[in-house]
């Protein structure tokens, strides 16, 4: 069994389609929704943790590509540029998974990449450009 985290971006015409249901039913995948943002007929974004046999996973991803859902692997996307960070903590209260957190004694910020779901909130709020999306 393999587990992967992916960000799915839906075009407007697919926001009312049962895509997650199909991944489970047709491709025998375990799907855990980590984060979702869907505006019907406009856009959609889902962050999923998907577990299944390697072959089934690949088939599931092929299915998404075929119907027009853009997929992007997670956790390698966001980079913490430690030298630019001032440890102000502005990002930490908005990080949904606490991948960015504060050690309360030292008041120093740290970044646990494995917990990051690449919602990019930190990129928006960091005043020092210390959070970066890797292309």
């Amino acid at each position: 069994m393999t587990t992967t985290k992916v960000v799915l971006r839906f075009p407007p015409d697919l926001t009312d389609q049962p895509v997650t249901y199909n991944l489970i039913k047709e491709y025998d995948l375990m799907v855990n929704i980590l984060r979702g943002h869907i505006i019907p007929k406009e856009e959609g974004m889902l962050v999923l943790e998907v577990t299944g046999k390697k072959k089934q996973l690949q088939r599931g991803m092929d299915y998404l590509a075929k119907i027009g859902v853009e997929t992007q692997k997670l956790s390698k996307d966001i980079r913490w540029l430690k030298d630019l960070c001032t440890h102000c903590t502005a990002c930490t209260s908005l990080c949904p998974t606490h991948a960015l957190s504060v050690e309360r004694n030292t008041m120093l910020v740290s970044f646990e990449k494995a917990d990051c779901i690449a919602c990019e909130m930190c990129v928006t709020v960091c005043p020092y450009s210390a959070m970066e999306v890797q292309v």
Partner: protein
């Protein structure tokens, strides 16, 4: 009772006892204020937060043939500077943005580059582009200038901040139904988060709440170099409500600071971008407080749990210049990462780096211990809680145009 002169003699001999405003707390709790006041000579404070009322002025040297930038238009890396001085003196403000920045036309604007970033780059030793257009005169014939320039090329480069070091500040929240983009960061709807901005127990003016030692002429750590308190800062408002210990419960005193930019370090002067709001400069400041008597000592030992701030709604109350606090919380509560508002647990975050404030207080302590930094006596006191100063809002008055004759 000690005098600053006596303390300086001890500093010169390498015998001064110096502690940071964080270290002093435990020391006083353990030994008592009376004994510690005799033993300790200096307490160092620090703060590292965004300070919009920051800027720098430069004398860029005279070009050959000469150009009168004064009265013309000039830019550093496309960021507009103020030219209303003599021929080659220019002033750059931290919040200035390039003319072609879309600002908030596409909301929320990114504001990736501005005056604060130019200052950081210059201090880092980088070359910037100086461009100017102006009118010609008999003595200054040139009308156009385009050149690369560094801090070393300039005659003078002076950081001058009309307002820094706010003594306490609001905790910002959002009661509306949409995210808002403010100078206190992105505030999520319906009390989604609470942002504050103060170093609390390490913050200079919170450790000297009535400005008994900090005044005009006080030598300070400024941006990694040495600077001075030039005056009280703009919006200096010492007559606000205070706690029993004398600590202001809201934004209160401020200082204007000045120092040689050429001595400074980009680690302590950072260009800063607030999404949907604009550009600013984050400035590192450290102020030494001489322990003259038990009272000055007791005030430096103020703890985060003794300092309170007001929770203010930035969706309506602040923009409409209404008054009203939703709650009063202590910095000790804020620093846990969560406060309770309206029965709801609200995550907190700061825009002032406590970790870097601590580092600044430590550096200043080190300088003093090594005898490299002597304390100065103020030459004029800052107006204090008995000054009667009222922080006024703008009363708009209609302009009546005279009829043409």
């Amino acid at each position: 009772m000690k005098t600053i002169q006596e303390i300086n003699e001890k500093i010169k001999k390498g015998k001064a006892v110096v502690l940071t405003a964080e270290e002093i707390i435990g020391f006083v709790e353990k030994k008592g204020a009376k004994r510690v006041a005799e033993e300790v000579d200096v307490v160092t404070t620090g703060t590292f937060g965004p300070m919009c009322s920051s800027g720098a002025y430069f004398n860029v040297g005279h070009a050959k043939p000469r150009i009168k930038i004064g009265g013309g238009k000039a830019y550093l890396n496309d960021v507009p500077v103020y030219t209303g001085f003599a021929a080659v003196d220019i002033l750059l403000g931290a919040t200035a943005v390039p003319d072609d920045d879309p600002r908030n036309a596409v909301f929320p604007g990114k504001f990736p580059y501005g005056g604060g970033h130019v200052i950081e780059e210059l201090v880092a030793g980088k070359e910037v582009r100086l461009t100017a257009t102006t009118y010609g005169t008999d003595c200054y014939p040139r009308k156009k200038l385009e050149t690369r320039i560094t801090l070393d090329d300039m005659n003078e480069a002076v950081l001058f901040n009309p307002r820094n070091c706010y003594q306490n500040y609001n905790v910002a929240v959002n009661l509306s139904d949409r995210p808002i983009y403010t100078y206190m960061g992105v505030l999520q709807p319906r009390l989604g988060n609470a942002n504050y901005c103060s170093a609390g127990q390490l913050s200079p003016l919170l450790c000297d709440p009535f400005y008994r030692t900090i005044g005009v002429g006080t030598r300070i750590f400024l941006g990694g170099g040495t600077g001075y308190v030039a005056w009280q800062g703009t919006q200096h408002s010492p007559c606000v409500p205070r706690t029993d210990l004398g600590v202001p419960k809201t934004a209160a005193g401020t200082i204007a600071v000045i120092g040689d930019l050429k001595q400074m370090d980009p680690r302590w002067l950072r260009g800063t971008s607030f999404r949907g709001y604009g550009v600013t400069l984050t400035v590192g400041i450290g102020v030494p407080i001489p322990i003259l008597d038990e009272e000055t000592l007791a005030q430096t030992a103020v703890r985060d749990e003794d300092i309170v701030a007001q929770v203010v709604d930035y969706s309506e109350t602040y923009p409409q210049r209404e008054s009203g606090s939703l709650a009063e919380v202590s910095y000790a509560q804020l620093k846990t990462g969560e406060i309770s508002l309206d029965g709801k647990k609200v995550p907190t975050a700061s825009f002032s780096s406590y970790a870097m404030a601590r580092e600044i207080a430590g550096i200043l302590k080190d300088w003093i211990q090594k005898g490299e930094f002597l304390l100065s006596e103020y030459v004029q006191q800052l107006p204090s809680s008995d000054s009667g100063i009222v922080f006024k809002g703008l009363q708009e008055k209609p302009i009546r145009f005279k009829k043409a004759v």
